[in-house]
Symmetry: C2
Subunit: 327 residues, 2 copies
């Protein structure tokens, strides 16, 4: 990163996120005013959709980036999806990883939880993350070493004087965020069944589900992986567990969460989940478990509390099958 | 209603909703600034909570109402919950039905989806509804005959030039909103199991689940019945299906949805659900199925499309058991 001016790139990315958010809001308002319509096209299933707005906003972002930083690589959801491969394309080079419109289903229905997600990755590490949800008036930004911020003024997590610990009985008492996703096949022991079994374990009273009941405070589904991560960075969601999304859905959000003191590892429980080393999630691995920042208490550090909580989730969830080439 | 000045009461209620929303935001900001903490007490279960903020905001609202309208009745969540009865207390008299803080779990965790909900009921009909979600900058208001509004300027539903129809294949293509709720008992065929079975039916591909698969566009859970209804009024959520909440959770939201052209009936499928008359939901019945406003198309009126969609939901959901005295 020696020859990269991260400060300058961060300022550029924040402005880009603001401009792209304005485009999303203008397109939504044009529909509200009756001067435009959302025309969507199915991609891989009836719930995997792209609109003209996704494509317009991606073209805008890509053009801005490549004119400012012609040496950087660009991986965007819509241009990627037009290719044939599902290969993971990020390498050591400085790369922008962009979802022009995360929460496309929300956007089509004008559910407020849609956003633009702009990540910048160096050596496989997301070092800048910008998420702008314009209908919610929520702009999230983070840069390595500079913390994570809401609307440029409120440092995250929101509660930081002090940062609350994670209770010993966690996931009891936690807000658990999860998504039903796009794979809706009625396959015996398929991903949908495994997800649901995991959600139900997390929700059921302690002692229930043959000891797997987690009695979380609440189960939340927004329909945007990016906002799920941003809300973990806020400290609002304690736990987010997900399989099936892609690097552009999580790149900016992982940077936000890291800078807010959170932890991101894999969704799939290792064989020895009670003792396994907790490694950072693979950016392109399509499997993510996020835990919010935690304060220390009772002789336990915040990191130890996060790892304890991650293991408590792994104990209650099923392994998901989202493989891809190149990872 | 002859002797009620609804215009004046509506103006009063909007201002009250603004003031109460400011109180919620101030209390949240005091926690963010480290000058206060959320202390919560369990009510009926580990996820049924009340904070000092719920009680302070209810006391404020009640005092304002009873000093302005001493002849009106008042039913608020927190004062009601302190009583022993679960009786439905609303009768023909003009009654304010208030939840000072809907989404208490969200508020405790600073998840943005919390709001104050102020309803005014005459002859069992919610005729004024105010919902203020201050962290989201979303103030919803409605009065019988005057439409439903977002932030006092944007009439609902958002898409109204024209209002989109509900597709023939609905619930396919719909955004489906539902809540996991507070009853987390691991009881065979209990409410939790019945809810989950219903959610899974709605989510699974068409043809799946022995023909019950609904292939909805997305499944959303915000943790606030009030906001679920407000988002149906926006037209963002097509369908909300829920059992277990109370009249103060839905009173203002039902007024919003009615004024936006939506439909609210019971969550529980009648025996003859394909042909049964579709009746308005019982305010205190704890069982709600909401369908957004719909435009007409292909020789079908909007109301016919809503009823078709309600029946398509009933075909896929289980009967829930939330009985109470007095209803």
């Amino acid at each position: 990163m020696a020859d990269l001016d991260l400060d300058e790139i961060y300022r550029f990315a924040i402005q880009l996120g603001k401009n792209a958010g304005d485009m999303l809001l203008s397109a939504a308002n044009a529909r509200i005013n009756g001067t435009a319509h959302a025309v969507s096209t199915e991609k891989e299933s009836a719930v995997d959709l792209v609109t003209q707005t996704d494509e317009d906003v991606e073209a805008f972002i890509k053009q801005r980036i490549l004119s400012m930083y012609p040496d950087h690589k660009f991986v965007g959801e819509e241009s990627y999806s037009k290719g044939n491969s599902k290969q993971y394309l990020i390498d050591h080079a400085p790369t922008w990883c962009v979802d022009p419109l995360d929460g496309t289903v929300n956007y089509i229905h004008l559910v407020p939880f849609y956003c633009v997600s702009i990540g910048f990755v160096v050596n496989h590490e997301p070092v800048i993350g910008i998420v702008n949800a314009p209908f919610l008036h929520q702009l999230f930004s983070a840069c390595k070493g500079k913390g994570a911020w809401l609307n440029e003024t409120q440092q995250l997590p929101l509660l930081r004087n002090p940062i609350p610990p994670l209770r010993q009985e966690a996931p009891k008492g936690c807000v658990f965020s999860c998504e039903w996703g796009k794979d809706r096949r009625d396959a015996r022991d398929g991903n949908l069944q495994r997800k649901i079994e995991s959600f139900v374990n997390m929700a059921t009273e302690l002692g229930g589900r043959h000891g797997k009941g987690g009695m979380v405070h609440g189960v939340r589904s927004l329909g945007s992986a990016t906002l799920d991560l941003a809300y973990c960075a806020m400290g609002s969601f304690d736990i987010w567990w997900e399989g099936g999304c892609w690097e552009w859905d999580v790149c900016a959000g992982i940077c936000l969460l890291n800078e807010a003191g959170g932890l991101v590892t894999t969704a799939n429980p290792p064989d020895d989940f009670d003792t396994a080393e907790i490694k950072p999630a693979n950016l392109g691995g399509r499997l993510y478990l996020a835990i919010r920042a935690a304060g220390g208490s009772d002789g336990e550090t915040g990191r130890q509390a996060q790892e304890r909580t991650a293991r408590a989730v792994w104990r209650r969830v099923r392994t998901l099958d989202y493989s891809r080439p190149g990872v």
